[in-house]
C-alpha cells in the first residue's frame, strides 16, 4: 500500500460489501448513532438499567459481527494464523459488541419513552 487515503478506504469498503449494502450499513449506523445521541440528550443521562440490558446483548453482537465477516470473506476461524489475525478478529468482535450495545440501548430508550425510570434500581 503506497497511499492509504480516506477516499481509498471508502472505495475499499464499497468493494467489500457492494455499493448498496455498504452505504445502507453506513446509513443504518448513522441513524442508530443519531438516535442514541438523541435519547442521551433528551434524557440528559445514561440509564444504568438500560445499559445493563445493552451489555447483555454484547456477546450476541460480537458473534454476529464475526460470523458476518467470515461469511463475506470465505474465511473460517481456523484461518487465524498469527498475532495480527487475532487482533483483527477481536477488533471485529469488539466493534460488533459495541454496535449492538448502542443499538439495544437506543431501542429501549425509544420504546420506553422519555424519563422512563420506573424500572431503574
Amino acid at each position: 500500500m503506497k497511499d492509504l487515503t480516506f477516499q481509498t478506504l471508502i472505495a475499499v469498503f464499497e468493494e467489500i460489501f457492494g455499493f448498496w449494502l455498504f452505504w445502507g450499513m453506513v446509513a443504518a449506523a448513522v441513524i442508530v448513532t443519531l438516535a442514541y445521541i438523541y435519547v442521551l440528550v433528551r434524557d440528559r443521562s445514561l440509564s444504568m438499567r438500560k445499559f445493563f440490558l445493552a451489555q447483555l446483548s454484547m456477546p450476541f453482537g460480537a458473534v454476529a459481527a464475526v460470523w458476518f465477516v467470515m461469511v463475506m470473506t470465505h474465511s473460517h476461524v481456523s484461518d487465524i494464523g498469527g498475532p495480527v489475525d487475532v487482533i483483527v478478529f477481536l477488533g471485529v468482535a469488539v466493534l460488533g459488541a459495541i454496535g449492538c450495545a448502542i443499538l439495544v440501548y437506543t431501542l429501549q430508550s425509544l420504546m420506553r419513552g422519555k424519563g422512563d425510570t420506573s424500572s431503574d434500581l
Binding site: 500500500m1 503506497k2 497511499d3 487515503t5 480516506f6 477516499q7 481509498t8 478506504l9 472505495a11 475499499v12 469498503f13 464499497e14 468493494e15 467489500i16 445521541i37 442521551l40 440528550v41 434524557d43 440528559r44 443521562s45 445514561l46 440509564s47 444504568m48 438499567r49 463475506m72 470473506t73 470465505h74 474465511s75 473460517h76 481456523s78 484461518d79 487465524i80 494464523g81 498469527g82 495480527v84 489475525d85 483483527v88 478478529f89 425510570t117 431503574d120 434500581l121
Partner: protein
C-alpha cells in the same frame, strides 16, 4: 443506589467526537499540485491497468496536452481476480468492466489496435492505417500469451480433457474452476507448471497449486489426489528467501516437485504433457492441468525497434532504464507495466509503483528538468496458500523483502489478514489506481 443508575451526558463530549471525525476525514484529502502547461502530444499505447492509470494522472497533471490512448480492447480485465474465479470464489464477470468507463474525459481513445511503431519518425500507425504523431510515447500494451509455442495446445481445449488455463481470461478461468472442482471430487493426477519466459504474476502458478490441494483436503479426497509441480528452472520462486519458504510449504502439503522442466507439448487425447529437460524430453501424465503458456511482447512491439536486442531474446520486452522506465535509445519513449523490459515486476502492484515514476519522469522532461523519482523494482504478491490464508510477499530488484507493514504483517507467514487483503481490498485499491487516485 439511585445516584449510580444515571450518568450525566455532556454535550461537549459529543461535539468533541464529531470534530474528531471531521478532522480525520479532512486529513485524508490528497493535496493538489499545480498543473503544468504544455502543448505536447502524448500517445499511450494500451488502455489496460498501466495505460489507464497513467492517462488519469496525466490529465490531472498537465494542461493543454493532447493525450491519446490507442487500444482495440473494449473490455477491461481485472487480472488479479482470475485466480479467485478459477477457485470458484467469484463469478467470471468479477474481472470484467468497460475500458471506456475508466478513461478520463480529457483524453481521446482510438478504439483499434496499433499496427506499427516508428520511433525515428515518432509515428504510431493503427490497424486501419491511421497515422498518429507523438512527442512522447508511453508503451503500455501488456503482453501476449503464446499458446502456440506449446505443441498440441490451443485455447479451445480449455475446459475439456482435463486442460485448464487460469491466465487465458475470466471465462477460461471459470471453465478451469469447473474442471478443478470435478478433479478434486474424483481424484487423479494434478499437473502444475510455469513457463520459462518472463511472466506476469509468478506467484499465480503456485497459488493455484495450493488452492487445488486445499479443495481436495476440504472434500476429503486428498488421498486420491496426486499433485505434481514442474518448475521451469532450479527454484520455485525467483526470490531466494521466498523460494525457501515455498519449498517448505510444498513439502508440508505433500507436492512432488521436479525442476528444470519446461512444457513443450501436450496430448489431450492421451492426457500426457511433454517437458524439455536438461536430460532430454520427459513425459508426465495428468488428469487435470493448469497450462501457463510462454509470454512475450505483442507483435507491434516485437516488430518495432523498441525491444532489447541482447536480453530476453525473442520475448521482445521494451529496452528501458530499469529505474526511470525511459527508453535507453529513444528518450521520448517510456514503457510501463508488463511490457517494460525490467528484471522484475509484471504485476498490478508493480504498475501501481511504476505509474507515478513515469508520470514524474515525463512531466520533468516536458519542463526541461530532471526527476529523482525512481522505480526500485517493487512487486507484491499475496501468495494464497489456502482459502482463508495468504502470505503477503513484497520485494524489489535486489530480492530484498520490502514489507508495507513491518512488525505487523509478517511477509513469510500464512495469515488471514493477507487473505482478506487479496480477497476484499485488492480490487478496490486497483480500481482506485485506475482512476489515478492510488
Amino acid at each position: 443506589m439511585s445516584h449510580l443508575t444515571q450518568i450525566p451526558a455532556s454535550r461537549r463530549a459529543f461535539l468533541g467526537l464529531a470534530a474528531g471525525g471531521l478532522a480525520l476525514a479532512a486529513a485524508g484529502a490528497p493535496a493538489q499540485a499545480a498543473k503544468v502547461r504544455t502543448s505536447a502530444r502524448i500517445v499511450i499505447l494500451g488502455a489496460g491497468a498501466a495505460g489507464t492509470a497513467l492517462a488519469n494522472r496525466l490529465v490531472e497533471r498537465l494542461e493543454g496536452a493532447s493525450i491519446t490512448l490507442i487500444d482495440g480492447r473494449k473490455q477491461h480485465l481485472y487480472q488479479p481476480g482470475f485466480t479467485l474465479i478459477a477457485a470458484g470464489l467469484k463469478p467470471a464477470d468479477y474481472s470484467v468492466s468497460e475500458t471506456g468507463g475508466w478513461l478520463p474525459k480529457g483524453a481521446s481513445w482510438i478504439e483499434e489496435p496499433a499496427a506499427e511503431i516508428d520511433p525515428e519518425a515518432k509515428i504510431v500507425t493503427t490497424a486501419s492505417g491511421q497515422k498518429v504523431a507523438y512527442d512522447y510515447l508511453i508503451v503500455a500494451t501488456g503482453l501476449t500469451l503464446d499458446y502456440d509455442q506449446i505443441e498440441g495446445m490451443s485455447l479451445d481445449l480449455v475446459g475439456r480433457e482435463g486442460i485448464g488455463s487460469v491466465y487465458a481470461g475470466p471465462d477460461y478461468a471459470a471453465k478451469t474452476w469447473a474442471l478443478m472442482d470435478r478433479f478434486t471430487d474424483e481424484g487423479g493426477i494434478g499437473l502444475f507448471t510455469r513457463p520459462a519466459t518472463e511472466m506476469k504474476c509468478a506467484g499465480a502458478p503456485l497459488k493455484y497449486t495450493f488452492l487445488t490441494d486445499d479443495y481436495a483436503r476440504r472434500k476429503g479426497t486428498r488421498g486420491k489426489v496426486e499433485i505434481n509441480y514442474a518448475a521451469h528452472g532450479g527454484s520455485l520462486f525467483s526470490v531466494p528467501i521466498v523460494n525457501e519458504k515455498v519449498r517448505m510449504l510444498y513439502e508440508d502439503r505433500g507436492f512432488n516437485t521436479v525442476y528444470n522442466h519446461v512444457m513443450k507439448a501436450i496430448d489431450p487425447g492421451k492426457k500426457i504433457a511433454t517437458f524439455a529437460t536438461p536430460e532430454g524430453d520427459v513425459e508426465m501424465p495428468y488428469d487435470f492441468t493448469n497450462v501457463i503458456p510462454p509470454m512475450r511482447a505483442p507483435d507491434v512491439v516485437i516488430n518495432s525497434p523498441l525491444p532489447w536486442a541482447d536480453r530476453w531474446v525473442g520475448q521482445g520486452w521494451v529496452e528501458v532504464d530499469q529505474y526511470k522506465l525511459r527508453h535507453r535509445r529513444y528518450p521520448e519513449v517510456f514503457a510501463v507495466g508488463d511490457i517494460a523490459g525490467v528484471p522484475k515486476g509484471k504485476t498490478a502492484a508493480s504498475v501501481k509503483w511504476q505509474v507515478p515514476v513515469v508520470e514524474e519522469q515525463l512531466v520533468a522532461q516536458i519542463e526541461g528538468k530532471d526527476s529523482d523519482e525512481l522505480y526500485n523494482g517493487y512487486t507484491s504478491c499475496p501468495l494464497i496458500t489456502r482459502i482463508g490464508r495468504a502470505m503477503l510477499v513484497e520485494f524489489d530488484y535486489n530480492n530484498n523483502l520490502t514489507p508495507s507493514f513491518p512488525g505487523v504483517i509478517a511477509p513469510l507467514e500464512e495469515l488471514w489478514i493477507s487473505w482478506l487483503m487479496k480477497e476484499v481490498a485488492l480490487k478496490a485499491t486497483y480500481n482506485a489506481m485506475l482512476r489515478g487516485k492510488a
